[in-house]
Structure formats: structure tokens, C-alpha cells
Amino acid sequence: MSAQLPANGLRIRRASASATPAPGIREGPEYAKLVDISRCIGCKGCEVACKEWNELGIEPTANFGSYQSHQDLGPNTWLLMRFTESEVDGQLNWLIKKDACLHCEEPGCLLACPAPGAIVQYENGIVDFNQANCIGCQLCVSGCPFDIPRFSTETRKVYKCNMCIDRVEAGLEPACAKTCPTNAIAWGTKEDMVRLAEQKVEGLRARGLANAMLYDPPGVGGTHMMYVVPHGDQLEQYDLPADPTAGAGALALLGTVRKLGASALGLGILAAGLHYLGFGPQAPEEDGK
């Protein structure tokens, strides 16, 4: 664990590239944000609130034939309302997705990160980037199953939503939840939010949306930003992976090989030393001493 952790290091449950346990010792509730897509009217007030609270500045954009403000997330655009038009049973469907970090319980970004303490997870479940420790390798982007972190070519660091950790630490809800005019964004303990989501899903099903579901994917241990998805059968239209995983596949294998790798080199050096002790140097005869 590196020395440069955020000031609230006592709440850190997990830190990237850390050989020793994280210092977290305090106990507190796990929080979650619940985004009810069925209640969203696409006003993008949350986008503005995010920019404002986090002082992220304006990112110039151009009309590209969509209601969407920007084409993509960026180092200073941590939240983007994505609008997708799709056809369901011959009817136009306007899908809206609040695209931002899901704050995975098993964060693929953190597991992929080689820099000690550059990515941390607090005991309340929020995943935060600590840019002071970031080495700008972008491996977190490849580790994230949701394609969230964005690299700044200017600072050579990565950025993403930090769930307004500075507000949460002070007992406030994230800025987006605070500003939402339709209460589509709820904030509370993970337990309460799952319960609320179940009620919402039931209500939607009663209204005829048979595929309504809670998006809290188990492959990443669940998330601390969950969605109530009215069209659960159209996850790919929302760009939501049906079964995301963290640190699986090649990365899991890499973790296993690493356990042997450095030891193999150490044993190699040891073997050379033993060979020298056993067989000694071989100098040409007439070389003289």
C-alpha cells in the first residue's frame, strides 16, 4: 500500500496493486444509487449538477442528430445521458440510460490497476480514482466491463464518477440524485435501495412491462449504482452487458502466473549461485592469476 492515500484512508476497504491489507477499520453502511429509468424524462439536469458540483467545466459539443449532449464520456464528463431509439413490436421506443460508473462491488478497474492506491474502494462501496497515484497506463479502461474510465491526454491520468464522495462523506446524497426533478435517482443504503427497486419492478410489471428488472449484476458482485430497467429484454440496446464479470479470463490467469513469475526469477538467481558454489568458475589454463 502506498503512502499517498486520500485523507479518509481509514474508510478504505480495498486499494489497487496493494501487497498488504487496506487500512479500513471503520464500520458503516454500504450505499447505493438507484436509477429508475422508467421515471427519467431525459432532462439532463443530473449532467449539469454533476458538472457543477465537481467543477468539471464545459466540454464543447455539436449537434450530431441526437438528443444526447455529448458523443461520449470524457475525463471531465463523468455522467452522460445516452439516448437510443429502438423498435419494439413495431413501436418506437426511446431508451434513456444514465451512463456513469456503476461502482461495482468487485471493481474490474481496481483489479486491473498496476499502481498502488491509484484506485480505492471505500467501505461504503464507492470506487474512487486517486489521480495522485495514477501512472496513466489506462489498464483500468480494459478492466472495466462497462467502458467507463476516460484518459486525459493533458494530465495523463484517468477520471470517472466518484459518486460525489465529498458529499456522501458529509451525509449528503450525490448531486445528480439531489437535483433530479422526477425522483428517478434514489439514494440510500444498498439494502433499502434493493427493496425499493423490487417494489418498482413489481409496479412496472403490473403496468404491463413484463420484462422490467433490477440491474444489479452478480458477476461483478452487484453494483452501487443500480438500474430499474423497464425493458429488461433489451439490455444490449442500453449497452448494458447481460453478464459482466470483473478480473476474469486473461486477467485471472495473469494473476495466477504472477504468483509463480517473480519466484521463478528468484529461483533462477539462486540456481546460478548454487551452480557457482558447486562447479566454480572455469578459467582458461594459461591465463595466469
Binding site: A115, G261, A262, A272, D287
Partner: protein, 205 residues
């Protein structure tokens, strides 16, 4: 000291070899630092984490270019022939310094040739796997590589590193303490006649 003897490597050969060797060592140590939290302190010698990360791929470029030069200079001498196959069959005698049972070698013995060819393959592996990790957004219209490609390439890059590291240990051990008189070939370029007779009898006679 030893300004007599036989010339084994030219000035250019020595410079190229040191660029390859020192850049490889730098890449090995910073690469291990990125792979093992307990070795992260090695980045200190490269100017700290962000600087080490910035330098690593550029030193990789220097490594690749100098390796190509070394490859071209030595290629002709590195062809494996029937004598080499005989030498390889006797490698266990070589390993315990049982000289009498090892067929005489030319300018390079078969072990050195194997090292040359293995490092050539690994050199390609470092470059091919390193580039997508370096430029995940893509380059020259190829890419982007975010996600699976980068993660698989990290695995390849790491495996190649451990392989190369093990060979490097053997190479440095044999070239320094195990066979006194050898390092001079890479410092001032000369070896003694006795050294040549002992290690490379079919070379220079």
C-alpha cells in the same frame, strides 16, 4: 590490461549489445514493478511510477530497434548446423563443466545460438504485445484494443518477461563469474588465445 589477444567483438557490436542489454534490464525491472506491488519500489530508479510508465514503452522502442541491428549483425554466425546438434546432445556435460565430453564450438556454441533465437522470438512477443497495451485507443487505423485484447496481451507480455528474465540470468552468469575472461569481449572487445581455445576451439583455430 588485456590489450593483446584476439578481437572478438567490434566497437559497433559492443555498443549495440549494451544498448540491447541495458534497455532490456530497464524494461525487465520496470515491468516487474508494474506486475508486482512488492516490487513497485523499482520504479523509483526510473523516476517514479508515472515517469517509469512513460519511459517503459519508449525504452521498448530503443530495445526493438537495437535488437534488430544486433539480429542483422549476428544472423550469419547464428545458423544452427550439425555440429550444433551434437553440442546440444552434450548439453548436460556442458552444464557441469565436463569439457572433455562437449564437442568443440565455433564462434558461438549451440547454447548461445539458442539464446539468440529465443530472444528473437521473445523480442517479437514484447513488441507485438506491448504496442496494444501502449496505445489502447489504436494506431494507424488498427484498434481500438480496449478490453479483451489488452488483457490477453498483458498475459503474453508477462509470460515473455519471465521467459526472457530466466534466460538473462543464465546469460549474465555465464558471461561474468562462471567464465572469467568472457566479459572482456564485451568491454574492450578482446579475449585471450587460451580463452578462445577453451570455449570456441573451432573459431580462430
Amino acid at each position: 590490461m588485456k590489450h593483446s589477444g584476439i578481437q572478438r567483438f567490434t566497437f559497433v557490436e559492443r555498443v549495440v549489445h549494451w544498448v540491447v542489454g541495458l534497455s532490456f534490464l530497464f524494461l525487465l525491472l520496470t515491468g516487474l514493478a508494474f506486475s508486482h506491488p512488492r516490487l513497485y519500489w523499482l520504479t523509483t530508479f526510473a523516476g517514479g511510477g508515472p515517469t517509469a510508465r512513460w519511459l517503459h514503452p519508449w525504452v521498448g522502442v530503443a530495445f526493438s530497434i537495437s535488437f534488430v541491428a544486433m539480429f542483422l549483425i549476428w544472423l550469419r554466425d547464428m545458423r544452427v548446423d550439425a555440429d550444433d546438434r551434437a553440442w546440444l546432445r552434450a548439453i548436460r556435460h556442458y552444464a557441469v563443466h565436463d569439457k572433455a565430453k562437449v564437442p568443440p564450438a565455433g564462434k558461438y556454441n549451440a547454447g548461445q545460438k539458442m539464446f539468440f533465437w529465443t530472444m528473437t522470438l521473445l523480442g517479437v512477443a514484447y513488441l507485438v504485445s506491448g504496442l496494444p497495451i501502449w496505445m489502447p485507443a489504436g494506431i494507424l487505423g488498427i484498434g481500438p484494443f480496449y478490453g479483451g485484447v489488452v488483457n490477453v496481451m498483458r498475459l503474453v507480455h508477462y509470460l515473455a518477461t519471465i521467459g526472457g528474465g530466466l534466460f538473462l540470468i543464465v546469460h549474465v552468469y555465464l558471461g561474468t563469474v562462471a567464465y572469467p575472461g568472457t566479459i572482456g569481449a564485451m568491454l574492450h572487445g578482446r579475449v585471450t588465445r587460451a580463452w578462445a581455445k577453451m570455449h570456441h576451439a573451432r573459431w580462430e583455430g
